[in-house]
Symmetry: C2
Subunit: 191 residues, 2 copies
C-alpha cells in the first residue's frame, strides 16, 4: 500500500476514534467520518465496503495497540501473581496514554454487533493468554474458580474506571493508586 | 401541580431517559426531547428554563429512585459488613430493574457539567451515609483507609459492569453471582 493510502487510512481511523469519543459510537455515520477525516465519502468506500467493515478493521488495530502493550516485559515463566501485577499495570498505563483507542475498544466490547463476528472473535482470542494465566492461578489453588465476567468485573473494570475518571477530569493518576488497585483485585480473586 | 402537568413531566423524563440510552446524553437537544415526549418545544420551556435545569431535575429524581432503594431494609445499627452486603445487593437489584435511570445517573456522574453544581452536590450528599459506613469500617480496623475513587472502583463498578452486561445481552444475572461479587468487593477493601 502506498504511503498516501496509509496516511488516509490513519486519518480515517483518527477521525472515527475522535467522533466516537465526542458523539458516541452509535451516532457515527460514514458521511460524518468522511467530513472529519477530510476525505470524500467515495474515498472512504474505496477502503471499506461499509461501516461495519471499517469498525471491524479499526477495532482490530486498536486491540493491537492495547493488547500489544499488555505483555511488555512480562516474563511468562514468572509466578502467576508477578505476571498478573505486571499485566494489569501495563494495561493501566496503555489505556491512560490511549484514551480514544480505549474508549472505542470498550464501546465495541459493550456492543459487539458493531463489528463483524469474525473480527470480534479474533479480538477475543488475544485475551486467551490472560485467561490461561487466570486458569493457572486457579489450578495452583491461588485464585478462586469464578465465572469470567466476574473476573473481568474485579480486574479490568476498577482500573478502567480510575483511568476514565483521571482522563475526563484531566487529573494525574498516581502509580501508587494503580498498584493499590491491582493489589485489591488480587485480594478479590484469591482463595 | 395538576395531574395533567405531572403526566407531562413524567413523559418528558421518560423521553429524556430513553433518548439518553439510545443516542448518548451528549447528543440530546430540547427539540429532540420535545418530539419524543409528544409535547411542543414551547411546553418544554414552561417546565424548564433550559436543558441544564431539566437535566438537573431529572438527575435528582433518578438519584431518588436509585438511592431511595439503597437503604431498603438495612438496619443502620447492624455490623458494617452486614450493612455493606445489604446495600450492595440493593444497589444491584435497583439498577437491574431501572436500566435507563442507571444509565442516565452514570452519564451525569461522568460529566457533572451536564447538571447545575447545586444539583450535583445535592446528589453527592446522598452518598454521605454510605461514606460514613465505609469510614466506620476503617475506624473499626476492618477496612483499609483508601482514596474514595479506589473504593468506588472496587465496589459499585464491578456490580455496575455485571448489571450492564446482563442488561445489554438480555441474560439473567443470578443472585449467586451478585453475592459472590459483593464478597469479592469486601475482600478487596478489607484490611
Amino acid at each position: 500500500m502506498r504511503t498516501k493510502d496509509k496516511n488516509k487510512m490513519t486519518a480515517i481511523r483518527q477521525a472515527t476514534l475522535r467522533l466516537a469519543r465526542e458523539q458516541g459510537i452509535q451516532n457515527l455515520s460514514m458521511a460524518k467520518i468522511a467530513k472529519q477525516a477530510h476525505v470524500s465519502p467515495a474515498t472512504l468506500y474505496i477502503y471499506y465496503p461499509d461501516q461495519k467493515a471499517m469498525f471491524s478493521q479499526i477495532y482490530l488495530e486498536v486491540k493491537d495497540i492495547i493488547d500489544g502493550d499488555l505483555y511488555h516485559e512480562v516474563d511468562r515463566q514468572a509466578p502467576v501473581r508477578v505476571q498478573f501485577e505486571a499485566l494489569m499495570l501495563n494495561y493501566a498505563h496503555t489505556t491512560l496514554s490511549h484514551p480514544d483507542e480505549t474508549n472505542f475498544m470498550q464501546a465495541v466490547q459493550q456492543n459487539p454487533s458493531l463489528v463483524s463476528e469474525a473480527a470480534f472473535q479474533k479480538g477475543q482470542q488475544r485475551g486467551a493468554y490472560l485467561e490461561a494465566l487466570y486458569q493457572r492461578g486457579v489450578a495452583e489453588q491461588l485464585l478462586q474458580a469464578l465465572p469470567l465476567p466476574i473476573v473481568v468485573a474485579h480486574t479490568f473494570q476498577p482500573l478502567a474506571y480510575l483511568v476514565q475518571t483521571a482522563t475526563q477530569t484531566q487529573t494525574a493518576l498516581p502509580d501508587k493508586w494503580l498498584k493499590q488497585s491491582i493489589q485489591m483485585s488480587w485480594n478479590a480473586l484469591r482463595v
